[in-house]
């Protein structure tokens, strides 16, 4: 373990626990725990959303993936940006207007049927859990490399910390951890980019170095390195695009601001920060990583593989250009990034469990005190489940897990939210069938895909030929919701009137 990393590791934990202690004294009510009492400003929420979007997987993973597929990595950040744009246009405003704590609020307020809470709650839990496991797998690998802990110990440490943050500090603590982390992350990306250009002498020199680094990097600037084919490229794009604006942990952030205008402003602020960071990562840091680190024997093991894997290229670059001090700071930022994102995901699961599932199944007869107890218990159970699942899936491909979560979100929460908000003909039964068809088809096709059926289960040939189900599962969800709505009754008139 690097000495500077140890120091920054404990500083990070101390700061985040301090924030949690401060937030816990202000988070005694349900409103405070779930949504920070809607007291976060638009600009603050924008920083928090940017922090949620720019997870360790995004920053470290994009650079790592660039080393493998070059310019093709663009699908992984342009598609979600398109999703944020569509979300700003059609989802954010109505979401803030009709929702209070969870996505279930939005759909129930439109369809006047409490069963919708259960459906949305299940979808939110499944999506957030998949995403949480992906983040924990990434966290375990990163922490074990940077801080010298074993994988299992790493995920246990992250699990315990996230339970403390969420159970005691709630959304207020998670938001402020995200805000501080986002500021440091954007700042460090700017500093690293300046150091890269200073070292190489300019953008054209950087690309000349990258092109000359190895014969392999020459093809990095051609499209097609992902070997997707038209169906998979379209399906991956659709899944990332629609999934981005249907991610429960991102959408519940819009309940933390006081009104619709602040919700919209927060997304514009987030997009500004994300675009600045991703442009620097794509244009400068990624090629610099390839030219200075990926093919440098000083950062390779005996087999010629980058020490710690390609996800570590950014941190190696920070050490090469900024020394041990900058490496320690970057490692601490990566660690706080993980803590912040997993906390947001845990809040999403805990609030869906307490507010949508348990409260609805107990027919609403749940005191606030009991609901808060359920929320905290759910946070602890989520943490335990995430630790177990991340140990089980520790060798699974990270990108596959993230795309899987996005595809399920695009096939479940997106059709339900879009139809509930914009189509008056949607009936509760239609919405339930649409949501379930989206969930079963997306998860089913993922199980039958080469990434799971062949690589995980061990069969010779996959039943479904692509790893990306969205192009089939999203239309299926919409069509089934539409067809069933056409032949079933709307909500009772007296309920609709209320």
């Amino acid at each position: 373990m690097i000495q500077s990393s140890i120091v920054y590791f404990f500083i990070t934990i101390a700061i985040t626990l301090g924030i949690t202690y401060w937030a816990a004294r202000r988070s005694s009510s349900k409103e405070a725990l779930y949504t920070a009492s809607s007291g976060i400003s638009g600009n603050q929420n924008g920083l928090a959303i940017a922090g949620d979007y720019m997870s360790a997987g995004t920053i470290l993973g994009i650079v790592g993936l660039y080393f493998l597929v070059g310019t093709d990595v663009s699908l992984y950040f342009i598609s979600p940006m398109a999703g944020l744009c569509i979300g700003l246009a059609i989802i954010v405003g109505p979401l803030r207007r009709f929702g209070r704590f969870t996505l279930g609020d939005v759909v129930e307020s439109r369809l006047k049927d409490r069963r919708m809470r259960v459906v949305l709650g299940i979808c939110a839990i499944v999506i957030s859990l998949i995403y949480l496991v992906a983040q924990m797998v990434g966290a375990g690998g990163l922490i074990s490399i940077v801080f010298g802990l074993s994988f299992n110990m790493s995920v246990v440490v992250v699990g315990i910390l996230m339970t403390i943050y969420v159970a005691y500090g709630g959304m207020l603590a998670a938001t402020w951890v995200q805000i501080i982390k986002a500021v440091f992350l954007v700042g460090s990306v700017i500093v690293l980019s300046v150091l890269c250009l200073q070292h190489t002498g300019g953008l054209s020199e950087l690309y000349a170095m990258t092109t000359e680094a190895t014969a392999q990097t020459r093809s990095l600037f051609n499209y097609g390195n992902l070997n997707l084919g038209l169906y998979s490229a379209a399906s991956l794009t659709l899944g990332l695009m629609l999934g981005m604006m249907a991610m429960p942990h991102l959408l519940i952030r819009f309940f933390t601001v006081p009104d619709e205008a602040a919700a919209r402003r927060s997304l514009v602020v987030a997009v500004t920060l994300i675009s600045l960071t991703m442009c620097l990562v794509f244009l400068i840091i990624s090629p610099a990583g390839v030219s200075m680190i990926a093919n440098n024997p000083d950062y390779q093991d005996a087999n010629g593989v980058v020490l710690g894997g390609s996800n570590m290229i950014t941190l190696h670059l920070a050490r090469a250009l900024g020394g041990e001090l900058f490496f320690g700071i970057m490692s601490a930022i990566a660690f706080s990034t993980i803590l912040a994102v997993v906390s947001g995901l845990t809040i999403s699961i805990s609030s869906a469990s307490a507010h949508d599932l348990v409260k609805t199944l107990s027919r609403g007869e749940l005191s606030e005190k009991t609901e808060l107890r359920v929320f905290r218990t759910a946070a602890a159970l989520t943490s335990a489940a995430a630790i177990g699942l991340s140990i089980l899936f520790q060798h699974e491909n990270l990108t596959f897990l993230i795309v899987m979560g996005s595809s399920v979100a695009a096939s479940t929460t997106f059709p339900l939210l879009a139809m509930a908000i914009y189509w008056r003909g949607l009936t509760p039964t239609g919405a339930i069938v649409g949501g379930m068809v989206g969930l079963i088809s997306s998860v089913g096709l993922i199980i039958l895909s080469p990434a799971f059926w062949v690589k995980v289960v061990g069969f010779d040939e996959a039943v479904f030929p692509s790893d990306y189900p969205a192009l089939i599962s999203v239309p299926l969800a919409f069509i089934s919701a539409w067809m069933v709505s056409r032949v079933t009754s709307p909500a009772p008139a007296e309920l609709a009137a209320s």
Binding site: C85, L88, G93, L203, Y223, E260, L267, Y422
Partner: protein, 74 residues
Amino acid sequence: MKPSILTIPIICLLLMTPLVFFQGIPSTTPEWLTREFGGVPGTVWATTAWFVAMVLLTWYVGKANTDHLGEENP
């Protein structure tokens, strides 16, 4: 002027279509896109321009929707 509900998703899908084609069927990439401009490969400039276009569209949507706040209420 505030864009209608369907306009923005359609524009986004249309903007993404060429990128999907280039990555799905690499042979459809125009030859001029593989040249260098100012020492930087054309595909890198094109990808950055794609991203910036998406960001500008998002800023426009944010401004248009805030100027007409409430009008898109279904």
